[in-house]
Every structure is written in C-alpha cells, then in structure tokens.
C-alpha cells in the first residue's frame, strides 16, 4: 500500500478533528465564558474513534471478500450475528469462552466452505449485481438458520470484560479525565491486532501471496496455477473469523440479538469512505466515520432534532466520494472503452 497516502490520510484526519471541533465549539459557545470545552469535545471524539474501530472490524470482513472476489458481501452482518450466536450457543453448554470461540471459528469455516460450494461456484462469471443479490439471499438464510437453532432472544455474551467505565487521560489539559468503556478499548486493541495479523498473512505467507494474486487478476492467477476455489473458501473463512471477532466485540457490548446483523449497514459508509479494496482504508474509514458520527450527533444533532446517526455517516461518506470516487485508499479506477 502507498505509505505516503496513508500518512497524508492519517495526518489530515487528525488535523481535521481539532479544526472541526474549534468550528463547532466556536459556533455554539461564542457567548459563553468557556470558549472551548476541550475535555468534553475530546471525550466525544475518543468515544467516536473507539466506536469507529468497532465499525472497522465489521468493514474488514467486507474488504477481504471484495478484494479477493469482487463480491460485495451484504451477508457480512448476518455472519457477525451467526458467529456470535454460535459462540453463545457453545457457551450455554458450559464451554469456556476460549474453547467456544475456537468452536465458533470452526463453524464459520464450515459456513464459508458451504457458501463457496453451494452459492459461489455455480455463479462464477455472473455480473456483480447478481452476486450481490445472492449474498442478500445468504443474509436471509443465515439469519433464519441462526435464529432457528439458537432462538431469537437477546443473549448476554460475557468474556470477562468489566462493565465499569475507566477514567483515563486525567491531567492538566483534561481536569476531569474522560470515561471510557472497557469493551471499546479491548475492541480497539483487538482491531489493531487483527489488522497486523492480516497484514502479516497477506505479506509473508504463501496463502497471502496467492490471495493478492487473485485480488489482482483472477485469470492470471488461475493461469499460474493458483486454485481459485480453495482461495475463495479461505477468504470466506478468514472473513468468517473476522466476523466472529466483530460479533464477540459487539455482542459483549450490546448483547447478541438480531440487530447485530444490521450493523452491516453501519459498516457500509466506512467501506466506501476507505475504499472497497483497502484494509488500512477500512480502519481509517472506521475512525473517521466513528468520530464524525459522534461529533455530528452531539454538536449538530440538537440543531436539527437529533438521532442523525442513521444517515450522518452516509452523508459524510458521500461528500468524501464526490472528491475521491474510489474512496480514500481505493484503487484508482481506470476506464477504457
């Protein structure tokens, strides 16, 4: 990946945060004695950034599959739900959560192989929109199967993260410190680990090289002897495990329930912001969307009646897209007649 671009993205993103903050705070606090309430603003931004990592975890799965097979996998959200349900199901049998995690990972690999065999293989060479619709079909099936097996009640997923908020960054700049949710901090660490792991997988292993080759050019990869079907099954398995991690994180903060499958809708703006084909893009897109959403909700929301999270991220992403139609880190679209 282009390091310079990433640096520019990160730096400009970080620079934008105080600028936006200054603007918003200045507008609302122009006649107040505290011109700029840094601590409150910082808390909102950090909350948003952590939330953004959670979005990015979901978006990662999308990116993996899109990179390797240019399939826009709408079922990623359902995979998150399915994985979390499977894990909770195993834990209800009295299995320790680490073992349950491994077992659920196995289930996701199984699901990946099934999807490859039943859905993808007969649909090779179909237009992208048809494959996209097929993944919506997968969405319904996974949703139905998951809820048939494990029921549709809200379930708690407890992996030993305390619910007590942590007070952090107490200092001269922030006299009151800020309250942070431990789950979100764990999610941030896990997210960073995942990206590092995926980077190693993609850069330094044989499978990773094959994955990159397939992502570049299906036919060329086939002609040098890379088994496309196996690669697809592997990619879907990896995406399934990413979904499991996302499911654990979301499940332990919200509880495992049907609405988990709808966080895919939250991941979509992250995805187009970062670019469909870029793993760092997913993370940085997640951070921008998370922070933008929180800042927008807290500072702009009251002006227009609140609850703007539903669409704010999409509008943000659309504005970005108008300047960079392939997302921040997407591959340059070259069109020929």
């Amino acid at each position: 990946m282009n390091t310079r671009k990433i640096t520019i993205g990160v730096v400009s993103g970080l620079a934008a945060i105080p600028i936006v903050g200054f603007f918003l705070q200045g507008l609302s606090k122009i006649d107040s004695s505290i011109f700029f309430a840094w601590d409150f603003y910082a808390e909102v931004v950090v909350k948003g950034l952590l939330q953004g990592v959670m979005y990015a975890l979901v978006a990662l799965g999308f990116v993996l599959i899109f990179k390797a097979s240019s399939i826009f996998n709408f079922a990623q959200g359902a995979m998150v739900l399915f994985a979390a349900l499977a894990m909770v199901g195993f834990m209800e049998w009295g299995v320790h959560w680490i073992l349950a995690f491994v077992l659920a990972g196995g289930v996701m690999v199984l699901v990946a192989f099934l999807i490859e065999r039943v859905v993808l293989r007969p649909m090779v060479n179909q237009p992208h929109i048809i494959l996209f619709m097929a993944t919506i079909g997968i969405f319904f099936v996974l949703d139905g199967v998951g809820q048939t097996i494990w029921g549709s009640n809200v379930k708690a997923l407890d992996i030993g993260i305390s619910r007590q908020p942590i007070i952090a960054f107490q200092g001269t700049l922030l006299p009151n410190g800020m309250y942070l949710d431990p789950t979100e901090i764990v999610a941030a660490v896990v997210g960073a680990l995942m990206v590092a792991l995926l980077a190693v997988l993609f850069q330094y292993t044989k499978v990773g090289r094959a994955l990159r080759a397939v992502a570049d050019d299906h036919q060329a990869a086939l002609s040098v002897g890379i088994p496309l079907k196996t690669i697809w099954a592997i990619v879907w398995s990896v995406a399934g495990i990413v979904a499991l991690v996302a499911g654990v994180m979301w499940g332990s903060s919200l509880g495992v329930q049907f609405s988990l499958s709808l966080i895919a809708l939250k991941a979509l703006p992250v995805l187009i912001l970062g670019g469909f084909t870029s793993i760092p893009g997913a993370i940085i897109g997640g951070l921008i969307v998370g922070a933008g959403e929180q800042v927008g909700e807290v500072f702009l929301g009251p002006l227009v009646g609140g609850a703007i999270q539903d669409w704010f991220a999409y509008m943000l992403a659309m504005v970005f897209l108008l300047f960079r139609p392939q997302g921040l880190f997407g591959e340059k679209i070259i069109e020929r007649v």
Binding site: V118, M123, A134, P325, V337
Partner: protein, 359 residues
C-alpha cells in the same frame, strides 16, 4: 401451431415499430386486460383484491421505476424505500392542504416532487459508479426516512407519526383512497393507472431517451464519445424512475395500507423491490410485473403452505423458516436463471413458435 407470425406483413414503419408486432401477442394482452377489467373485480374475493392484486399492482409500478434506473440505465440504487416515502408524504401533504384537487393530480404532483428529490440524490451518480453509488443512495434512504419520521409537519403533527389516507373521489362519488373505499374501485383505479404508466415506460425505453439510457448502462464512456450526454441521461433516468416510485409510494399509502408511517418504507422495502427486478429480469418492463407477482405471492404461499400440508409449526418457527426459504429460493433462482423470469417467458415463447415440432 397457433402462435406463428407467418403471413403477417408490415407495410409501414409504424406497424413495424408497434409494441406488439405479432398479432397473437396483441390479442393476448388485450384479452388479458379485458379479463382483468371486466371479470376479476366481479369474481375475485375481497381477500384476493386487498392482499394480492392491489399490492401486486403497486409493487409492479415501483419495480418498473427501479428497473428504469437499474435495469435500463445501469445505476444501482438502494433508495427505493425513501423515494416511496417521498411520494406518500408529498401526496398526503398536498391532499390535506388542497382537499378539492382531484387525487389523480395530487398523485402526479407528488410523483413530480419525488422526481426532483431523485434528481438531487442522483447528482452523485455523475461521479460515483457501481457499488459506491449503491451505498451513496443509501444516504437518500436513511435521510428521507429520518426526515419524515422526525418532523411532525409531514404528518400534520399526528402524535404517533402515522398518516391515515383521507377518502378521496376520482370523479363523481367513486371513492378510490382510504380504508373505506371499496376494494373493487381501488383495484380498477390502480389497474388503469398502472397500465397507462407501464405504457408510458415501455414507449420511453423504446425511444431516444431509453436508448441513451441503455448506451450509458452498457458502457458510459463509449456512450459519451458517440455523443450521448451522460448528465442528461443519468439524471433523466433518476427523474423518471423516482416519478414512478413516488407514485407507487403514494398509492401504497393511499390505497393499500390506508394508514402508514415512515418506517413502513425502510431499507427492507428497497431490497424487496430490488429483488423483484432481479428475479423478474433487469431491463424488461414485463419482468417488473413478473418479479412483483413472484415476490408478492411467495410470502403468502409460504404462510399458507404448512397448514395446508398439515405440518404444525409455531409462529416463530414459521417466521424463521420463511426467511430461510425466501433466501434459499432467491439463491436458487439466481443460479438457475440469472436473467430472470422475463427470459424464461421469452424462451417459452420461442418454444411455442415451433411447437409441436422440435425445431
């Protein structure tokens, strides 16, 4: 044997360019329309009219609209639900503000308003393509639903956020909207309106503007080079498509459900309409109708089948099974015939031409 065009000579360009150049086709469609107008309202039970035929007609119109945008112009849109909501709320505001204006004019005005909204949200399509555009249209979906849900002005400050369609007459005392209207009237009104709009759509896609849409769909850069203005083509597709979808949303609120809230037009509605055009056939007017029929009938079938077969199932189980079967059938259909039901229909017609000979 009976379906042959042999001996039907065309002596003028007009005859050659007719929508149904084959006499049997023309006759068939006229017979079908006659049956739908003169027979169905008298023999169909109320349940059939209310929960199958009326939603079928409304969804056909929505699918037709989306097909113009996605099937003919190649711009993938997931904002259908939002545009349907636009039509519903625009017509509600219009008809409560001007109760004396004929409801047909209200619907058309609401359609025009939706077309303007559609053009606005279609502007990004000039720069964004493919799935990026699809996700960008989700912005329209979420923003519009949020707007109708949030601001009481749209619902005339109804405390529950629900609008109930007032009864309106089309002419004389023929009430066609609201819960009190007789379903036969609603059905006939819808049938005539949808048939006329389908005729408009069919002629549009056969004419200059439709050909420019298809050129943009097939390869936009090449189309631009041969002199088609992409801005005009794309935005007109957005406008026409939103016009149709807006009217269908208005009809949904006014004739089908009677009372409706913004959440009835959620993202699932968008997917439903998208399924219709994919299963029916992208880039086909007939396909929009076939797909709508399929998607409207499928859940009803899935609901009624287990009791008919005598399998006892809990309500929750049925809901889950419905999801599984629905998803499975969609995947099955996409594998078996990705070009949709319209293609199957065409194959059937080809076979019928030769019948009873093999070739």
């Amino acid at each position: 044997m009976f379906y042959r065009e042999a001996g039907q000579f065309k002596a003028s360009y007009a005859a050659d360019q007719a929508i149904y150049p084959i006499r049997q086709d023309k006759l068939g469609i006229l017979l079908m329309l006659a049956f739908a107008v003169f027979v169905i309202p008298f023999i169909a039970p109320i349940y059939w009219l209310n929960s199958i035929l009326i939603p079928f007609l409304i969804f056909s119109l929505a699918a037709l609209g989306l097909n113009i945008l996605t099937g003919y112009c190649g711009q993938l849109s997931l904002g259908t639900g939002g545009f349907m909501a636009c039509g519903a709320f625009f017509s509600y505001k219009l008809t409560t503000a001007f109760p004396d204006v004929n409801i047909l004019i209200v619907f058309l005005l609401a359609g025009l308003g939706t077309a303007m909204v559609g053009v606005l949200f279609g502007l990004p399509s000039l720069r964004i393509k493919g799935f990026y555009l699809a996700v960008a249209t989700l912005a329209a979906q979420f923003f519009l639903i949020w707007m109708f849900n949030k601001f009481g002005w749209w619902t005339n400050h109804s405390p529950s956020g629900v609008i109930s369609a007032p009864p309106r007459e089309i002419f004389g005392n023929v009430t066609v909207t609201g819960p009190s209207a007789p379903p036969e009237y609603k059905y006939l009104f819808l049938l005539i309106l949808v048939s006329l709009l389908a005729l408009v759509a069919k002629n549009m896609v056969r004419s200059r503007i439709g050909r420019s849409w298809m050129a943009i769909r097939d390869m936009d850069i090449a189309a631009e080079i041969i002199g088609i203005r992409p801005m005009l083509a794309k935005l007109s597709a957005f406008a026409v498509s939103s016009f149709f979808i807006g009217i269908s949303g208005a009809l949904w609120a006014f004739t089908y459900s009677g009372s409706v809230e913004a959440l009835a037009f959620e993202i699932n509605r968008s997917f439903e309409v998208l399924f219709m055009i994919i299963i029916g056939g992208l880039g086909s007017v007939l396909g929009s109708f076939l797909g709508a029929a399929f998607i409207v009938l499928l859940p009803i079938l899935l609901d009624n089948l287990p009791p008919l077969l005598g399998i006892p199932l809990s309500v929750e189980m049925v809901a889950h099974l419905r999801l599984i079967i629905f998803g499975g059938l969609i995947i099955f259909f996409l594998i078996v015939e990705p070009a949709g039901l319209a293609r199957l229909w065409q194959i059937g017609k080809e076979k019928l031409r030769l019948w009873p000979f093999p070739y």
